[in-house]
Symmetry: D2
Subunit: 227 residues, 4 copies
């Protein structure tokens, strides 16, 4: 399986009702059509329960929001990576601020995902954790200061230094690693600024999911990525 | 939404590869066709990531294997009950031995599921926990001694007293509650014995999922339920 | 080991600095002297790290705030019940609202503590959970509505019905069980009211720990218990 | 507070009965007397509930086995670092293989401990995690391959490469960091080998705690450290 392309916009649907069940498929199709029209790479991370149905419905990369470090089989109610690959998903977020993980589990899953051909995006909350997680050599780290998540000001405006420095420490430890940033990202200007700060794109959620017109927002974000 | 019918056979797919991704849909369709042919009620609990796709594919009741006691929205990587209802599932297992839950969360979810029209099956490991969970008044309790799960001898043979006594304590505390039993259940004789001991059916996994011919096993189980 | 006496005042030190390290010993001695002077039964639950030192320092019952359901031995950083008994403690809180536990673990620990001669006080948050936990037959349940914990109004004033009804459901399921109440309890009047509502005493924390003069507060609480 | 000295032998008592309650004090005193006689630095990590009593009883450094990333106050049943400092302990293990932690919590605690004057020893399971944890700049990392813990063959014999390479990656990322190794360490020869491989000492448990004559074992270990 080929790695996730760069630069990229990753849309995390979280568990918002606006992006759950049938809405999950609808929003994924909007993302797909914007990707096709603009040539910009967009990936989606739908609610866990919608992973297979979304992966069947669109051709853009579909990611899991989380994987449990358990084996397939007698692990009722968990999500082993085998569930994710069986669905046809291309990768997974790990250690999202709303689903923090133990470091030994992150490392184990980064290795297991690599062997299974799944891309990994490890979320981090500050420069120290970005540095630590980069040492595990995932495909991407995504820096998201928790205090800015879901807020109105983009991390690229509120704290450009944390983005720039995260890119620096990540690439110093693992030269080929992809770096995303997130938290408060809402428009094309935020995306353009993210690229200018050295990242490979953005990870965002409410900015798209809760938008009155997600298609319009996505087109604007795509514009930012093409600058 | 109407309650799960009784008696019933509930097939937990766990996270077995034989029942994940496309296999999950295929096995659900086999369950559906056996239910239609025999008139016996069968419900399926596919891997978390396949919940929506299975609910779209079959007309028999589809259950979640677990629900997290979190709100819909900023809960990346979790499964709130809103994810489950949005998928079209009819209910959920709670507190499976492979995914034990905190008592306050079980109570909260039993209430929230009731309000949302989702049926609840709370798994228990012995008579004491059956008694405690029955006090929370879920739709069903399912007694499964952990030491017998995945084994070759049915709980109805290995420990009929735990089944019979569980039925007794559950109904004493909550008169209308449904009671299932599980662990090692493999054939129609086991199901017939479960009903004879006073239960409303069985919860089973590997006996169907890992069978060479699941259809044949399901037909035999259905026979046991109709005796 | 003999059971905790009734009626009783249980002072949970939580992890307040005012009751940690040397302060933990000092406050325990105040509790002990008030118990001796008034003849009222008082038990203390110091911070986990102070359990042994407090148990060595006072003659009144010392309780653990929590026990992990693990075995003694290769369980670094956990607190098995063997750690608690080795300290000379007489019992433990379980399932405190700040340390909720899985139901199977509560049941297992209630049994193991009984065999080890440790008294158990299982905390609950509402009538449903009180009912469920009483079915596990611990020595005591302690009803503490979380929304009132640490507040200014005693549960006995804010919601006397939840106290009275908890006593009712607990004793219906397990006739000999002790029932405490807590949350916002601050003075002798609150304690007297708790007894009037049918309880065997109170569980409180900040009302004593953060008081300017804990000795004075304890004397007043003791007065309430003797009415 | 001054940092832990190097080289050092750290004895983790885990929750072994042989090192709990009064035994915890007795074993700490043996460690102290061997440290005094030999001039070798020895630190002890007693069961959580014995932390204060041991810190009162001996002059050698006493460490916590774990700290929870919670605030002091309304955190019943947890161990905030304020509990540890109030006891007079000098530092803490973090992320022991029997108590794995989330990476964001490890980072947060390493910072908070540094500010509070507590030394940190972050346990790791392999080279990748050693590298990641070193990026968080604790005082020490301690590499312990889980498959060798509690076994009969020292990590220095079974897998000297993992020790040597851990030292290499740790010091490359954080030049001044201390490095310990553990798992199966039993005698002075193992300790001498650990130093030869570039470490600053060893972390061990059963080799001392379950020894028929712990004093004799400690004297032998101390010999290894002085070579």
């Amino acid at each position: 399986m080929k790695a996730l392309p760069r630069p990229i916009i990753v849309v995390n649907f979280k568990t918002y009702p606006e992006a759950s069940g049938p809405n999950s498929i609808a929003l994924s199709k909007i993302c797909e059509s914007v990707a096709e029209e603009t040539g910009v790479e967009i990936a989606v991370a739908p609610p866990m329960t919608d992973l297979a149905v979304v992966a069947q419905s669109v051709g853009i990369p579909v990611l899991s929001q989380h994987v449990d470090d358990v084996k397939a089989g007698g692990t009722t109610g968990h999500v082993p990576l085998e569930s994710v690959t069986a669905c046809g998903a291309k990768g997974t977020l790990l250690n999202h601020s709303e689903r923090r993980m133990r470091i030994a589990d992150i490392e184990n899953l980064v290795c297991r995902c690599r062997n299974a051909g799944l891309s990994t995006i490890v979320c981090t909350n500050d420069i120290g954790v970005t540095r630590a997680c980069s040492a595990l050599e995932p495909d991407f780290v995504a820096i998201e200061p928790p205090e800015l998540i879901g807020g109105d000001i983009s991390v690229t405006t509120a704290n450009p230094a944390v983005v720039k420095d995260s890119v620096g420490v990540a690439r110093k430890i693992c030269s080929g690693i992809g770096v995303l940033c997130g938290a408060g990202v809402k428009n094309g200007g935020d995306v353009a600024k993210a690229l200018e700060l050295g990242t490979d794109g953005v990870l965002l959620a409410s900015g798209v999911v809760k938008a009155g017109d997600p298609r319009k927002v996505l087109l604007d974000l795509a514009d930012g990525l093409r600058c």
